[in-house]
Amino acid sequence: MANVSIRNLNKKYDGGFHAVKDVNLEIRDKEFMVLVGPSGCGKTTTLRMVAGLEEITSGEILIGTRVINDLPPMDRDIAMVFQNYALYPHKSVHQNMAFGLQMRKYPKQEIERRVREAAEVLGIESLLERKPRQLSGGQRQRVAVGRAIVRHPQVFLFDEPLSNLDAMLRVQMRVELKRLHERLETTAIYVTHDQVEAMTLGDRVVVMKDGWVQQVGEPLELYGKPANRFVAGFIGSPAMNFVSVTISESLGELSASAEGLRLKMPPRLADRMRTHAGKRVTLGVRPEALHPATGADPADCCFDTTVDVVEPLGNEILVNFRLGGAPMVARVDPAVRVKAHQSVRFALDPERIHFFDEKNEAAI
């Protein structure tokens, strides 16, 4: 069993910078856990502490039932893939992959068997005698992954392994990593700043910011029920639109209003929002929850606006406009004909709106 437990983990650097703050995570056996967040959010530091490359200021890390705080990296039974691949430039692909096994004094035949097996899985059999500098970026990436899997470790650690690849290759490798994980069934912790990577790869995703864990959950859970405004804005592309609205109550009916919009509160939100009557809150609506209004849309969900910029992407069109002074993006069907500076009536889907507290930014 290789579940990883992180308990009250903290990292403070000598200069006083508090990089990781009270992180608590339970990563289940065979789970693919992705840590995602903007740069400087503490995700890589957390991973490096699991790897043993960074000292732990306070807290505990367990792999299985064993506390590994003070174990050197070699004794933690982990393998790590680095952003710059960190292939040993003076060793051939074969030697790179065999190094970890040699250091652990495996018999020669066993090393040979495992290297061949990993090379076959990754399709790099023909490259085994080459030196890293003779490989393309994608091939290096594969070798780096190969070097990790030959060891059959308890936990895989990935530190932004795809960010040095070009866009096409990144998508391809993403799929391969996912397939590989299904095949190997090993616990993996994966760090990335790319939310698309996080959503596609992770069984669960941890969103971090400024050293704090913001939310832990399955990809669609983060997307559908973000815990706060940061998660809502970080997950999803284009990002969720935010507009400041005032909640008011008249004749027992709640409504949220901004300049040009007066939205009746959907029944599912009414109870929660009642306590906020008279206050300003942030309304969040995803680009795909906005569409040009038709007769079927209730009048209170519609608003008039002027199109600012149109971005035709082929499979969809992104329409930029403003609502209540805030910039908004709508993702609409490519069949819709809209032009810049045109007046359009848009509608939002009342079942897919979110409210966030203005002060602490938590979801209401």
Partner: protein, 283 residues
């Protein structure tokens, strides 16, 4: 390279290059031509009608023969070689470990230590030889090769440490971290991964150290007194200039033979040496 007009390339590249090459290689040419010239031609004044200062009409190996047979030159060559190799080896080993520690380990005062080592390198030998002579005498090492093998590292170690520290810093940390996860200790990662990757840097430090100790003059002049134990630079100057008589032919033959090993070392490792100085590690 950008495409340029041909004549521009000739004027701004080939011509200055030719002048530069001529300028740097002329002393070697002069050395060779003088060494091969018989005394009769050598001591003829330039104003004489038959003077040919830039080439020789009757090349001879006479000066080489005299140098090798009448002086202790073979001994000097051997001494210089031995002393240069041993002091280079000592300095490289110390420099590799010190450079690694200063580049990678974080400990209190590491920056101060780095600067202090550099400052040692800046103390001129012309000052340092006085206290060193005292120490050499007290340890009764005077007039033995150890006097030089142990004093050369005083300026070679700081030099190697600094050059290698810079090189180690260009090697990505992740290589070492990866090796440690792969099962190596810090020492193991250093020896198995970092040192092999740093070979260009180590070689260029070695070449520099070798050349510096090969050419060293002051310590060799002061610490060695027997004619047999001298090094080439000192031997040639002290034994082939007697009073105001310069044995030019033998002097030049000695200088020529003495510079061959260094030239060989350079030409063998020239590629490593260039990458060592420009410091590029590609993963």
């Amino acid at each position: 390279m950008l495409i340029e007009r041909k004549w521009k390339k000739w004027i701004f590249f080939y011509l200055p290059m030719a002048v530069f090459i001529l300028f740097t290689l002329f002393p070697f040419y002069w050395m060779a031509v003088t060494a091969l010239r018989p005394d009769a031609e050598l001591y003829r004044t330039w104003r004489q009608a038959s003077a040919t200062p830039f080439w020789t009409l009757h090349p001879t190996l006479e000066h080489f023969r005299e140098l090798l047979q009448t002086t202790a030159f073979p001994h000097w060559l051997w001494n210089t070689m031995l002393i240069a190799i041993v002091s280079t080896a000592i300095s490289l080993i110390c420099g590799m470990f010190a450079g690694y520690a200063l580049a990678r380990l974080k400990f209190r005062g590491s920056e101060f230590l780095g600067t202090a080592i550099f400052i040692t390198y800046l103390v001129p030998q012309t000052l340092l030889f006085i206290p060193l002579a005292d120490i050499i005498r007290d340890m009764q090492l005077g007039n033995t090769p150890w006097a030089l093998m142990l004093t050369y590292p005083t300026f070679l170690i700081p030099f190697c440490t600094w050059l290698l520290m810079g090189y180690f810093k260009t090697i990505p940390k992740e290589l070492e971290e990866c090796a440690r996860i792969d099962g190596a200790t810090r020492f193991g990662a250093m020896v198995r991964i970092i040192f092999p990757v740093a070979i260009p840097g180590i070689l260029s430090a070695g070449i520099f150290a070798f050349t510096l100790s090969w050419n060293e003059f002051i310590y060799a002049l002061i610490f060695m007194s027997s004619a047999e134990l001298k090094t080439v630079p000192v031997g040639v100057v002290s034994e082939l200039i007697r009073g105001d008589i310069f044995f030019w032919g033998q002097l030049m033959a000695g200088a020529l033979l003495g510079s061959i090993p260094v030239a060989l070392v350079y030409s063998f490792f020239v590629e490593y040496y260039v990458t060592g100085l420009t410091g590029s590690v590609k993963g």
